[in-house]
């Protein structure tokens, strides 16, 4: 079973992702801050991170940069509320870039695609 870390500062959004991904058989862990994220990444074996670009006062893009440096084998699906078209080239570091929507199917699709690409499907 793949283990996915969902990083988002909105508990109800995390709930949606946890339900959707959980129903598909993934084990979902949650983090709402940068500190919590790296605590979990250092402690647990994670196969993929679903990362929100904005984490209250902290930036998801900083988290993305640190993950690609310190945990380069873990793929990241970057989420944002709006199309932020090429505004920050850091976002290109992510394996996938999705716009949050009330239809979570796209997230599911991307998670599956990225995991299979990285050969992480267990």
């Amino acid at each position: 079973m793949n283990r996915i870390l969902v990083v988002d500062d909105e508990p109800n959004v995390r709930l949606v992702y946890k339900e959707v991904l959980g129903d598909e058989g993934y084990e979902v862990l949650e983090a709402e801050s940068v500190k919590e994220t790296f605590d979990i990444l250092n402690r647990e074996a994670i196969d993929l991170v679903v990362l929100d670009i904005k984490l209250r006062s902290e930036s998801g893009l900083d988290v993305l940069q640190r993950i690609t440096k310190e945990f380069s084998n873990i793929p990241v699906v970057l989420c944002s509320a709006y199309v932020s078209f090429q505004n920050d080239y850091t976002s290109w570091l992510a394996d996938s870039y999705i716009v949050k929507s009330s239809n979570p199917e796209e997230l599911l699709k991307e998670v599956k695609r990225v995991l299979s690409k990285r050969g992480k499907t267990k």
């Binding site: 909105e10 109800n12 959004v13 709930l15 949606v16 992702y17 339900e19 959707v20 129903d23 929100d52 670009i53 904005k54 984490l55 998801g60 893009l61 989420c79 944002s80 509320a81 709006y82 199309v83 932020s84 078209f85 090429q86 505004n87 920050d88 976002s91 949050k100 929507s101 009330s102 239809n103 979570p104 199917e105």
Partner: protein, 545 residues
């Protein structure tokens, strides 16, 4: 017949037959012999002849009489000549006084030149036939104003009119804008042709001498002057500022009367020129000053407007940021509501009566999301627009990649035709992407039964063109008219802000958007974007999470 018997006509009283020079009304001279001798006989040939004969007959005594008579007549001529010269000088002096007084308070260059030229052409002073004023600027002398008749006929007419009206010096020197523009118009073609470099030999000589120069037909001169004066000599009077800067020249000539100018007159002309120079310098300085004050005032107004604009933009930018924050805080709850409804629906069996409520929640969440997206785009366009040089091909290509799959599902085939080596344009990639996306979405929606969609780019006359062409049914004139109005929509789900926002984006970039439609053949939207002249720029980051 001067001798009557033993007497001479000039000694006979009260006999009208002896003197044929006494006219009617002068009968008193018959009896008043002394007065007749003074007024008539002194100039009479008979008296001279009589004296000559008497000198021959009776010797030197009468010879002396004759000599005295001749001398007195010569002296009289001299006195008359002096009198006339004095009269002319008085008139000139009078003229100078009037010119000086009348120029004292004048600041208008037109008026100064008018008075100056009138002074030189007026009959009672120099009475030149024509006068032309040329003003200096940009190392050139340019014809500005001229006065005088064009030919003999007009000259006679003018002289007659002036005599009849019996005008005084003051009358003539009074500035008449009407006459000024009439004379200027009359000479306009000549004035246009009279444009010379200050380095021209003729003018170089004048400036070096700093005095009036007489130019003979055989002297070296620019061809425009030779054509104009056609063998008539003319005089060039230079005008200098107190710092010896050349202000202009006046050209004078007597093409009708062929009159020459005495050295005495030249000296007086120089005095006139000094007066005019002073006034001209004052007038030109005033004109320059006025212009500078005008420029400054204009700059001041612009500065104020600019400041106001900056204030407005700042206020709008903070409004924009605020609204963006607000919509952002709406987005996550909408995602949570929609997402949870989706999860709930998935976990509920189809028979459950609550399914339709979950559907309704989902549908509303989708609508809300769409409205938020449009609203965010609208706000970003309206209030926030960081620009940087960009390659439109990249934007169009990305859009093509993104939309192709969606289009295919609906039977719309995408065709991409990008021009090579397109120049950069200055804009906001995010905005442009949204703008073209709006149009592409409309085109796709216009072809529910499928069709072809062409995306093209090309460079043309300082613009980069993006064409979006579909093979849909086209649109009605009514729709066409309102296409770019805010909150206009034909869709059931839509805010009506999409195309309006697109137009705003393009126009803010200094571009243009045009739509042409043909019934049953489809529409073509052409976006024209100005080519960026310089690189650089900045980019604002509005990424949201």
């Amino acid at each position: 017949m001067a001798k009557f018997g033993e007497n001479y006509c000039w000694t006979i009283k009260d006999d009208p037959s002896v003197c044929p020079f006494i006219k009617p009304g002068e009968e008193h001279l018959l009896g008043d012999l002394e007065r007749r001798n003074r007024e008539k006989c002194i100039e009479c040939e008979e008296l001279r002849n009589d004296l000559k004969k008497m000198a021959d007959e009776k010797g030197n005594f009468f010879q002396a009489f004759q000599t005295i008579l001749d001398e007195s007549s010569k002296r009289e001529q001299t006195i008359i000549r002096y009198g006339r010269s004095l009269e002319i000088k008085e008139e000139m002096f009078d003229m100078l006084v009037h010119l000086s007084t009348s120029l004292k308070l004048v600041l208008d260059v037109d008026e100064i030149l008018y008075k100056g030229l009138v002074a030189f052409t007026m009959g009672s002073s120099f009475g030149f036939n024509r006068a032309i004023a040329l003003l200096a600027g940009n190392k050139k002398l340019k014809g500005y104003f001229a006065i005088g008749p064009k030919d003999q006929e007009e000259a006679l007419f003018i002289w007659k009119e002036l005599t009849e009206k019996n005008l005084t010096v003051q009358d003539l020197l009074r500035f008449s804008p009407h006459i000024f523009s009439k004379e200027k118009e009359k000479f306009s073609k000549i004035l246009e042709r009279l444009e010379f470099n200050l380095s021209e030999e003729l003018f170089k000589n004048v400036f070096k001498a700093e005095t009036i120069l007489r130019v003979s037909p055989e002297d070296e001169m620019p061809s425009a002057l030779r054509d104009f004066y056609r063998g008539t000599p003319f005089w060039v009077i230079p005008f200098f500022s107190h710092l010896k800067r050349l202000l202009g020249v006046i050209l004078l000539d007597n093409f009708l009367t062929r009159k020459e100018v005495s050295s005495e007159e030249m000296r007086v002309m120089e005095i006139f020129a000094t007066e005019i120079s002073l006034a001209l310098e004052r007038g030109l300085t005033y004109e320059e000053l006025e212009e500078k004050v005008g420029t400054l005032e204009e700059a001041n107004v612009k500065l104020k407007e600019h400041q106001e604009l900056i204030m407005k933009l700042r206020a709008e930018a903070s409004i924009g940021e605020m609204v963006l924050q607000l919509t952002h805080s709406f987005k996550n709850p909408v995602i949570a509501i929609g997402g949870l409804a989706w999860v709930l629906k998935k976990k509920t069996t189809a028979e459950n009566t609550n399914t339709k409520y979950m559907d309704a929640i989902l549908e509303e969440a989708v609508k809300l999301e769409k409205t938020l997206k449009d609203f965010v785009n609208f706000v970003k366009t309206r209030y926030l627009s960081g620009k940087s040089p960009l390659d439109i091909n990249k934007v169009v290509e990305l859009l093509y990649q993104e939309k192709r799959a969606k289009g295919k599902l609906q039977g719309v085939n995408f065709h991409l035709n990008l021009a090579n080596d397109l120049p950069m344009i200055l804009g906001n990639e995010y905005q442009l992407y949204n703008c073209i996306e709006n149009i592409v979405n409309n085109s796709i929606e216009a072809m529910p039964e499928g069709g072809e969609l062409f995306l093209e780019t090309e460079a043309q006359d300082g613009f980069v063109l993006v064409g979006i062409k579909d093979t849909g049914p086209g649109i009605s004139d009514e729709v066409m008219k309102n296409l770019f109005q805010p909150f206009f929509t034909t869709k059931t789900i839509g805010s009506g802000l999409g195309l309006y926002t697109s137009k705003e984006i393009i126009e803010k970039m200094g571009g243009n958007i045009a739509v042409s439609c043909e019934r049953e053949k489809g529409c073509r939207v052409t976006i024209m974007l100005p080519i960026s002249e310089k690189g650089g720029g900045y980019e604002q980051d509005f990424s949201g999470g």
